[in-house]
Symmetry: C2
Subunit: 238 residues, 2 copies
Amino acid sequence: MSKTVQFQPTKPRRAVDDIIEQVRVMLDEGTLTPGMKLPSEREFAEQLAVSRNTVREALRMLEVAGLITIKRGATGGAYVVDSNTQAITQSLVDGMTLTKYTLLDIIEARIAIETSAVIKVVENATDDELDELDELVAQSAAIDPQADWEGRLASYFRFHDRLIELSGNPIFPVIARPLHEMANRVSARIGSFAGDVIIQSRHRLMHALHARDAEAAVAELRSYLELLYERWVSRPID
Amino acid sequence: MSKTVQFQPTKPRRAVDDIIEQVRVMLDEGTLTPGMKLPSEREFAEQLAVSRNTVREALRMLEVAGLITIKRGATGGAYVVDSNTQAITQSLVDGMTLTKYTLLDIIEARIAIETSAVIKVVENATDDELDELDELVAQSAAIDPQADWEGRLASYFRFHDRLIELSGNPIFPVIARPLHEMANRVSARIGSFAGDVIIQSRHRLMHALHARDAEAAVAELRSYLELLYERWVSRPID
DNA sequence: TAGGATCCAAAGGTCCAGCCATTGCAGAGG
DNA sequence: CCTCTGCAATGGCTGGACCTTTGGATCCTA
């Protein structure tokens, strides 16, 4: 049987593309790990046998991709980061300005990920960890939504982020955090609403988690996110 | 109550950052729309009163962000794109690469996303679209897994990708692709197995979809992914 | 000796001027 | 009318130069 050949769109191979691929491969292999420092621009250029300008372009690309951060000065240089959440978020924001995604799309994705995560939380989280979540809820409730809506909002998302971390699956946060960032930006522009409703939902959710009742927890989380969406659409972005 | 002030990390403002922000603002305002062409590098440099190198760095960043594509030659230049899904996918792949994960983590995430997607497929897909999926299954079955395992594998993922696209939520494919990419990196190394089992599962899944039976479709997809995992763990990465 | 002021080297930020490589298209030639 | 060819526009890349930032080493002083 003939091999299914697959033609690639003709994109001229640039030196820059080669460089960033080398870095990506090294990251995948573990040759480069978070915290490590790439060579200085001048040294890197020499190693790669390209000009410093070309190296700089490659570094800029890696920076935007969220793989490195660049610091100036004596101890400066390009350092491998340990999370590119910001970059993913920025991509999603860009996607929304290109009118590719709607709020409902975001919410649906959150429901998909977070309900799956919460099931694992019920299975795996220790009681201490659940108490930690209780504490986060209390912190949220202690912030006056009128006086400091942004602070309250940030507190909400700290809860969600932590909840998803407790699932034990490291992939879930990678996906969920950018979605939260997106939701956060929207909420920040809409302004405060119905703080009590959210706190009450949190209490019901925590009750279900403590009772290790996955079904109830999923139901509560889902209805919470759907409520959120209702509020958003009824108060569109200015 | 005191406002929780939030200080931003001190990041020196570079010329490059200014340029990409100008472009982002123009995109947001609608001054720049998909398909439009930015000035040539030389002209752009003059307009911005910066060197051509700086412009090039900015263009590279916008390119990685998925906002423009760059074409060489006579009618070349930087064109605003209408979709940055490719960039988001790449970001997520990078994010997962930076994260310590296991195969089970990937499978769990796939179950979360793909079962949610398939529910929407049952609701939204037309019969013609389902027929299209049937066709993809037939294509998979026609490839000899012994002779061309990579081709068969690629065919499997085409099915999954298309299935998820048919959910109608553009976020789902964006999340699913990186997961497939990560799964693919592993499968390609493991080699062929049990082609018949997979095709049979596909048939059962399609049957459920045609019958618009969401519950059965979800169950089939889930058990398929779990089966996949079983096979993987029993044949660990070399 | 502790504390502060100063100097300096390393590293990124920017610019310049030039040359090469690619590519579409207009015009020449059949 | 079609084909070939050369040109000009545009991105790709180089090498060198200079500025700015920044942290640490050094030196001075109380």
